[in-house]
Amino acid sequence: MIQRLLPHPLLTPILALIWMLLANEFSAGHALLGLLLGWAIPIFTLRFWPEQTRIRRPLTLLRFIAVVLYDILIANLAVAKLIVSRPRRLQPAFLEVPLDVRSDLAISLLANTISLTPGTVSAELSPERDRLLVHALHATDTEALVATIKTRYEAPLKEVFEE
Amino acid sequence: MIDTALTIAFTLVGLAVALSLWRLLRGPDAPDRILALDTLYVNTIALLVLFGIQIDSNIYFEAALLIALMGFVGTVALCKYLLRGDIIE
C-alpha cells in the first residue's frame, strides 16, 4: 500500500524543496503545495523510474559529496594552471576504468563525478557495462589515476548504493 | 567595490564569449562547434546574472533558467543527431 502511494519516498522532499526554490518563497503555503507536487509527480512518472533507490549509508554519501566538492575546487585550479601555462606540453590519454558498481544510478553518478573533477571526462561505457572509457587531460601515470578513481569515488558509491 | 568587480567580471566573460565564438566559427569539426555553442550559452547565463546584480534586479532569473534548460536540451539533441543521424527515433 505504502509502495503504491509513495513509490519514491526520497523524491517527495526533493521536489518540494525544488518547488520552494523555484517560487523563491519559504512559507508554509508553498511547502504544502510543494509536498503535494512531490507526492503526485512520482506517481504519474512511475513508469520512468523502474529502479528502487535505497541509500544505505547517508553519512558516507555526505562525506563523498564533500570530497567531490573539494576536489572540484582544487583540481579546477590545477587545470586552470595547465591551460594558462603550457598547453603544448600536455599529455592527454585515454584510460579504461574497470567497473565494480552495477546499478544504473551508481554508474551514472560515477561517470558524472569523473567528468566534474577536472582532468578527466568520462567518454564511453562499454556495452557489457563493465568498463568506462575516460579521457584525461594530463596523465603521466595512468595506472595511478585509475586506482585513485576507484578508491576515491567508486568505493564510497558502491558502499552507499549497493551491497 | 562591487562595481569594480562587476566591470572586471564583465570584461572576462566578454572575452570568454569572444573566444567561444572564435571556436564556433573555426570548427574544425561538428562536435567542436556544438561544444562552442554549449559554452556560449553557459557564458550567456553568467552575463545575465552579472547584469542582474548590476541593475539590482531579479527580473532576469527566469531568462537565465530557461537558457540553461533549453541549452542543455539543444546540446543533447545535436549530439544525438551526430550519434544516430536522427533526433527522434
Partner: protein, 106 residues
C-alpha cells in the same frame, strides 16, 4: 566584509569562465578542449550564481533560487560532455592521445 566576499566570488567566477573558454580556444584536440568548458566554465558560472544569491539575500527575504541554476548546470554539464565525447569517438575525430584499441567500445 560581505562586500569583499561578493567581489571575490564575482571576479573568481569571471576568471574561471574566461579560463574555460581559453581552454576551448587554445588546446590542441577536441578531447582536450572538452575539459575547459565542462568544468572551469561550470564552476565559474556557479561562483557568479552564488554571488548573486548572496547579493539578493541581503534584504529581509532570502533569495536562493539561483542555487537551482547552479545545481542544474552541475548536473547537466557532465552529461553533455559525455555525449559530446561519445559523438567525437563515433566520428573518429583525431586525437593527440592514443585512441583506445578495443573496438567493442564503439
Amino acid at each position: 566584509m560581505l562586500e569583499y566576499v561578493l567581489a571575490f566570488l564575482i571576479i573568481a567566477g569571471g576568471a574561471f569562465t574566461f579560463i574555460g573558454s581559453l581552454g576551448l580556444a587554445r588546446l590542441r584536440d577536441f578531447y582536450s578542449r572538452l575539459h575547459g568548458p565542462t568544468k572551469a566554465t561550470t564552476l565559474g558560472v556557479g561562483c557568479v550564481l552564488i554571488a548573486s544569491a548572496v547579493y539578493f539575500s541581503q534584504g529581509d527575504q532570502p533569495s536562493l533560487h539561483e542555487i537551482l541554476i547552479t545545481l542544474f548546470l552541475f548536473i547537466t554539464a557532465p552529461v553533455s560532455a559525455h555525449l559530446l565525447a561519445k559523438a567525437a569517438l563515433h566520428l573518429k575525430l583525431t586525437s593527440v592521445a592514443r585512441r583506445p584499441e578495443s573496438e567493442n567500445l564503439e
